[in-house]
Symmetry: C2
Subunit: 157 residues, 2 copies
């Protein structure tokens, strides 16, 4: 058994256990650095009343806490299902290096999860997406960006 299979089996076990214990959806994830687990998570949306608590987001937060950093460069994500766009972008912002996934977004669609639909949505121009979006006070909003540009003490991420 390769180390990759070992970590993926752990992610799958977290997913299945999460369903059996009624804690949440059938998703589990593991973050690995230098072949050691540095973070784990399962989907706890319903258990913790947090709609952002997908397995990957939960595992990224756990790894950030354990490593005491917002930068997971050099880490690998093993997830029992291809990340939804929220979790894919979360992986990007965390600087995850490689993603291993088990189920595909199309597989999730077969059990009525919206992952594949969300990939279609995000490829559309904003005005064609299912959540109505309206622009407001764009000129005033630039002030925040100008403050960031001018700040000499900011910490980039």
């Amino acid at each position: 058994m390769s180390v990759h299979e070992e970590f993926m089996r752990r992610a799958i076990a977290l997913a299945t256990e999460n369903v059996r214990s009624n804690a949440g959806g059938p998703f589990g994830a593991v973050i690995v650095k230098d072949e050691k687990v540095v973070g784990e998570g399962a989907n706890t949306v319903t258990a913790t009343n947090d709609s952002t608590a997908h397995a990957e987001v939960t595992a990224i937060r756990d790894a950030c806490r354990n490593l005491n950093t917002f930068d997971l460069s050099g880490c690998v994500l093993y997830t029992s299902c291809e990340p939804c766009p929220m979790c894919w972008a979360a992986s990007y912002w965390a600087h995850i290096g490689t993603i291993y996934y088990g189920n595909r977004a199309e597989d999730a669609a077969r059990i009525n999860f919206a992952d594949a639909f969300l990939y279609e949505q995000l490829a559309l121009p904003r005005e064609k997406r299912v959540i109505p979006e309206r622009e407001l006070l764009r000129t005033e909003a630039w002030e925040s960006f100008q403050a960031w540009q001018e700040s000499t003490t900011k910490m980039e991420y």
Copy 2:
């Protein structure tokens, strides 16, 4: 001043204050239900060592906590900048009804944030995106989905 402008100005103020206090990036967000603020957030990635702590995600989590639910149906998101794909998908999963934004993703690109780049990335097939993705143990991973399908006690979200 319309109520929409009032809530957007609050989101912009959170963003600017976040920069001035060195707490994080120039992003603020407010969640409103029935014309009352039910959640607020700013970008606290660096302050809290949580790479997922964008303003919208932080505001959604705050609203979920305050309303004691994972379902923000009927809520409106006011954000000082168009949501990145992580935050757009988080809004979808939370059942946010409408999004008002100030700056556009293109504006964020002008101060070196990757939001617009991420929209381009998510429109690509998975094998062309910047994070390498590898499929592994897809058949075994289906077991978790089967457990979900067969569960008679699951809570959908």
